[in-house]
């Protein structure tokens, strides 16, 4: 009997974990949707305005990568003074689906005469399982920045050969020394996104909210949701208080907990299924992963998203190569290739995420650049903070308070 209890709970736990991870991953999964639907819904008018000049009447979002293509005809400005070592003839990439523009792969294959073999995963668990302790048979993959310190310590990620990564200077200054990998010694950032507040304008009447304090507004009682993610929830609250989202100061954490306890009676649910709760009409305003808005906009076209004026949480994926990489030179050259301004822009135009590449901006689709939720003003960018892998004892302090809040 108890074996039945045990068995079923493990089954459910697995199912739930899978479900949670997949939900978190939806933002990637949605990329194709963004191009098809979200683009039309959110950016349609802007894109239409930009592309109506010479483009055919084909779906506007789909046409945008093409729109930037003519500009990329300009000769590559990347100088290569030192002779580049000959890369191995192959490169194995492990990636999310639709997370790398095809033209970028093609130009790499043509330039270095390397055959690129892509493989795909659909959850982070799957990625880390396939990579194992030394990268398996893969040369390139895209770990989430929070996981990078652990992978470096375990000896999974290989150090970059900066002599081959000549484009590293293209990175924006806020990306040149990230907390998860100081000096970009092992990884380079790939794409980044934000966590913020999303709301249904039909329900949230009056002035458009700009602060995360809107999530503490008693007018929306029982229609407010927070993510079921301790680090995101404390991150938002700490930033609202003007503190670091990664603070290790327990007094700050106590103050954040007190704020969250105040908020709790107003909260309908702590859930990562924001797509479900928003589209069902139960939640009017909620703490959401920025990219989930595109899926919500399929149901609620007017659905709005903002990064709180106090600042917000950003997340990022990195590009890394591994200690067991079968084609190390090709891998380093590929990382360098991704850092090229035009290639980085081509990826942004395809994925609808901003890259960390300052030099890429001039090649990015104006529609993306003009969307403050994808490409916020520098003043806001300066206030974005990345969630870091916290030290064990600090993490325990967060989790303890999180469980007190939820109890």
């Amino acid at each position: 009997m108890s074996d039945r209890y045990d068995g079923s709970s493990i089954d459910l736990e697995k199912a739930l974990t899978r479900y949670m991870v997949e939900r978190r991953v939806t933002r990637r999964y949605l990329l194709e949707r963004i191009a098809l639907v979200g683009g039309a819904a959110a950016l349609g008018p802007v894109i239409a305005a930009c592309t109506s000049a010479g483009q055919s009447a084909s779906p506007s979002a789909a046409a945008t990568p093409g729109a930037s293509a003519p500009e990329s005809v300009a000769p590559t400005a990347t100088p290569e003074p030192t002779p580049v070592p000959t890369p191995e003839g192959e490169l194995n990439i492990l990636n999310w689906t639709d997370y790398l523009a095809e033209e970028v792969v093609k130009s790499f294959e043509d330039k270095y005469k390397v055959k690129v073999t892509p493989s795909y995963f659909s959850t982070t668990d799957e990625m880390y399982a396939k990579l194992g302790d030394d990268g398996g048979d893969y040369d390139i993959s895209f770990p989430i920045s929070v996981d990078v310190p652990n992978m470096i310590e375990k000896g999974t990620i290989a150090k970059l050969d900066k002599s081959l990564i000549t484009n590293i200077g293209n990175l924006g200054k806020e990306w040149s020394d990230p907390g998860y990998d100081p000096g970009n010694t092992y990884t380079v950032p790939y794409m980044w996104w934000t966590t913020g507040v999303g709301y249904d304008p039909a329900r949230i009447t009056g002035d458009a909210p700009t602060s995360s304090k809107a999530l503490w507004d008693a007018r929306w009682k029982q229609h407010i949701s927070m993510l079921d993610d301790w680090q995101e929830v404390f991150g938002l609250t700490l930033i609202q208080m003007g503190k670091s989202a990664n603070t290790d100061n327990t007094a700050d954490l106590d103050a954040a907990l007190a704020l969250l306890e105040q908020q709790k009676p107003l909260v309908r649910t702590y859930s990562t299924d924001t797509i479900g709760t928003m589209t069902s009409g139960d939640i009017w305003i909620g703490h959401i992963w920025g990219a989930d808005r595109f899926a919500i906009q399929e149901t609620i076209p007017a659905f709005a998203y903002y990064i709180p004026e106090e600042g917000g949480v950003k997340g990022s994926d990195t590009v890394a190569t591994f200690t067991g990489s079968p084609h190390p030179i090709a891998a380093q050259l590929f990382i360098n290739h991704l850092l090229d301004a035009q290639n980085s822009a081509a990826n942004t135009n395809f994925i609808y995420y901003m890259g960390p590449n300052a030099a890429a901006k001039e090649f990015i689709d104006p529609a993306i650049l003009e969307d403050p939720t994808i490409n916020p003003d520098q003043a806001i960018v300066d206030k974005l903070e990345e969630l870091l892998a916290l030290e064990q004892s600090v993490r325990d302090e967060y989790l303890k308070r999180w469980q007190e809040l939820r109890g």
Binding site: M1, S2, D3, D6, N150, S280, D396, W402
Partner: protein, 311 residues
Amino acid sequence: MAGAPGLTGAPREAAGPTSAATSSKGPGRLARLRGAALILPGAGWLVLFFVVPLVFIFIVSLGSRDALDRVTLANPGFDNYLKAFEPRFIPTFLNSIRFAAITTIVSLAIGYPIAYWISRYGGRHKVLLIILVMIPFWTSYLIRTYSWIILLRDNGVVNTLLQAVGLTHEPIILMNTDISVILGMTYGFLPFAILPLFVSIDRLDPNLVAAGRDLYASGRQAFRHVTLPLTMPGIIAAALLTFIPALGDFVTPDLLGGPQTTTIAKNIQELFLAGRDWPYGAALGFVLMVVTLGGTLLALRTLRREVIGGE
């Protein structure tokens, strides 16, 4: 573990004729060996999938984490057990007990009449009706739980209906409440209650009830003094089969519940995943396991002595 009368009863019955057949041929020793051989698969299953994991959990619970969150047994001790009794787990533990208890009571209250009806009036459709009880299992638990969201959300089926009929003007908040959690859990665990109830009611000899009626018992008295005591093993089995998994459930409260419905199982899951503290999570899980097991054995013992009169 195998304390459920419904479960131990069935194999005993199955083993009966076999041993009877062999005893006519030779002495009991061979029969006993055969009996042991028959138990092997079941016992092996229990050891492999219950005892071994339990021992594993216990060992992990004595360990600690290294800097990379890996489990290490370098300094084994009971520190995690001290931390397992921290006060923040009390509300979630009480939530678990409350939800499991209500789910069990409601399941029995709904399940007994259903099982009784199928057994007494199902006739040649009995099997079909039992299959109908089982059919929900063919669909993933998550999907079935999700369908409750479609029913209960603010613009869901129930609220739309209530408003159409004019009972309310504003949607009533059903989702993310105790009600939604209890509905979802009762729905999920009801078949666990119906099956053992059906077995015990179906095995009840109708002549015994008829005899009671012959002795001038009213229908109600016959039920209270004949049917109910004789089906008590089934009721106990049903209660255990519902209560125990319900106690460990966190999917339903997580998907259908709100800020007030966190359960202890969710805390354990968080210690494993978010906290990456396997030893701590294992200790809390082990405590829950011991409490469940101890409570079950105690309940069984008391019930057997008082209700069944020492079986």
